[in-house]
Structure formats: structure tokens, C-alpha cells
Subunit: 164 residues, 2 copies
DNA sequence: CAGTATAGCTTCCTTGAAGAAAGTATGAGT
DNA sequence: ACTCATACTTTCTTCAAGGAAGCTATACTG
């Protein structure tokens, strides 16, 4: 990624991960892409990221193997969007634990609400990020929905390289 | 933290988490502090972070409630070091999943080796970051050691606010 | 008790990335 | 032909990172 020092050759796997993931936008882009919001403008508007930075991040994430480009049809024409690879889909536990940690250790602003992680396979909310705290199964994107009360939506996730 | 935009008032808990954690140094500092390496110079040398940035990060992490200052005795005199709070200790699953993800999705450099996460309570390696893949227990720092073949050490971790 | 060492920061300077906004390119609809 | 939408790219300014040197407090050394 070379945003700062190059950590891709470090022995410590955490440092190698942070070489790719150690930028807040990268995880937010993965989150949105796993929600099926993989178009450039959706990301730009939805995340509030500048277009220049978004462009650079998407390029780096393609190179890092986190994203692939997929076609989608916009009426008569074919456009392209970004979709998650298997590597990006396997960041789900990290995203969910960030959500759980944030719920517990940061202050909920006025008008917010508790975001529930719903394991659709068993129908229950999970309080772990990696395995379901209700049924014990490993959590994967296809089986998850995130209930966001401040948007009054229950967004389902999708796995690697699904069509947008 | 205000490194970039202020995300502390966002409804999305992931964004609020990244407001605090969305800097690679923060997680690396938490990792080292959980290993009992909480002195300024240990962090400076061990992480290769510049002193100016380390100083700013430590300050921000104190304010964010990730670290506390604790006394330690250096022979006759009392010095201070940084120790993890409960909030920082609860980042363990994220650190371990970053390690697992890095082992799987980034290239191991020459001379490296597989870092094993050992759950000392049951004596086995765990392949999950949050609950032990061998015995199913929730993983907490006091019960973990990380086996780092490139340093030929098995470093045990420590929980919140333990003396350095 | 002056000189040196060490820990723990702080200040200064330069380079580089972030953010905002405007510009470019391509194809569609009217 | 003109306008609109998507998907970027370019330009400019501001701010943070990294490196090095300086500063302060408390030892230990002769």
C-alpha cells in the first residue's frame, strides 16, 4: 500500500495486515462493498471520501487482491463496480468486532441506536463477530444482516464477487 | 483523535471505532502494551515509530481511554510506563484476527515463520481470534501466548492495567 | 559536586498524503 | 447537437508523518 512505510516484508503478520488494512477507508470500503454498494459514486457519496483518495484506494485494493471489478447492468448499458474477493469477505469478523467494540467503548451520539448483528441462519442476534454467540456457527457474509435503527433498515450482506 | 475528519459522532459503530483505532500505530501500540512493553523507549525502538508521533499517539490514547500510566521501579527510582485499559484489552480479538488474516492473505517474507496463537488454558493453538478453536472458551490476554518463530520466543500477554 | 548517562518527551523542518473542487472522458437519452 | 450521469484525474492548499536535534529530570561516576 505504501501509504507510509512499507510493512509488507515484516515478519509479524499483524504488521503485514496493517500494511494493507491500516487505513480507515480500506475497511469502510470493504464494509460497503460487502453490502453491495460497490459503485464509485455510491462509495464517494456514502462514505464522504474525496474522489481522489477513493480512486487511489480502489486501485491499491485491486492490487492487494481485496477487490475485483464486476459488470453490472444499468438499463441498456453495462457498467462496472467493485466487488469483494474472498480475502475481503474474510475481513467480516474484524468489521463485526470493530462494530461490537465501538458499541461498547464509544459514546452513541444523539439519535443513534444499537446496531444489531443478525445471524440469518439461526435468526438471532450475535454478540460475537467470528462465531454466532447464539448457535456457534462460523459467521460468513451471506448469512448476516446488520440492523441499523438510525436508517430503519436491515441490510443483508453478500460474499465474495457477488454481482452488484 | 482528529487525525483526519472527526468520526466520533457517527451513528455507525464501525466508524466510531475507526475514529480511535483507524491508525496503524494505535493497534501496534496496544499489541506491545499487552505484551508488557509499555515504556516510551521500548515502544519507540520496538515499533520504529518516530518519537514525535509516538508522543502524540500516546496522549490521544490516554484521552481515548485505551491506556493508563502506571508506575514501575527501575532500580531505586520510580518511572512510568503505559498499560492497557479494559477497552484496550478487549481489542485482543481484533489483533488476533488481524494476525490470522495476515497469515492467510499476505506473503510470508524469507526467514519468517508461522506465528501461533497459544491458548495457555487448554494448551492448544487456536485458529480463531475470539473464542478458542480448540476448547471454545473466550480468549482473554492473560490466557494467551504468541509463538514467534522468527524471534524464537513465546511471548505471554497480560490484561488490563497490569504492572509492567 | 561537575560530568555523563538514560528515560521521556518536545520542537523544528521537510516531504508527502488528505480534502475540496474543478476538469476530462465516455456513452445515453431527447 | 445538447445535456446528463458515471467514473475518474488533476490541481491546489492544508495538515500530519518521519527524522533529527534539543530539552528536562533524575540518577551514577570519579
Amino acid at each position: 500500500m505504501a501509504l507510509r512505510s512499507d510493512w509488507s516484508k515484516e515478519f509479524c503478520p499483524i504488521r503485514r495486515s496493517l500494511d494493507v488494512l491500516g487505513d480507515p477507508w480500506v475497511l469502510l470500503i470493504v464494509r460497503d462493498v460487502l453490502h453491495g454498494r460497490g459503485r464509485f459514486d455510491e462509495l464517494h457519496i456514502g462514505l464522504g471520501i474525496s474522489e481522489a483518495v477513493l480512486s487511489r484506494r480502489l486501485q491499491a485494493m485491486l492490487e492487494a487482491g481485496l477487490l475485483t471489478k464486476v459488470d453490472y447492468s444499468d438499463g441498456p448499458r453495462t457498467r462496472q463496480a467493485y466487488a469483494a474477493t474472498e480475502a475481503a469477505a474474510e475481513l467480516l469478523p474484524i468489521l463485526q468486532q470493530l462494530a461490537l467494540w465501538g458499541e461498547k467503548h464509544t459514546a452513541l451520539p444523539d439519535g443513534g441506536g444499537h446496531m444489531a448483528l443478525i445471524h440469518e441462519s439461526c435468526g438471532n442476534e450475535t454478540f460475537h463477530g467470528e462465531t454466532c454467540s447464539s448457535c456457534g456457527e462460523i459467521l460468513s457474509p451471506e448469512d448476516m444482516s446488520w440492523d441499523k435503527p438510525w436508517k430503519s433498515t436491515r441490510d443483508s450482506l453478500q460474499g465474495a464477487s457477488a454481482q452488484g
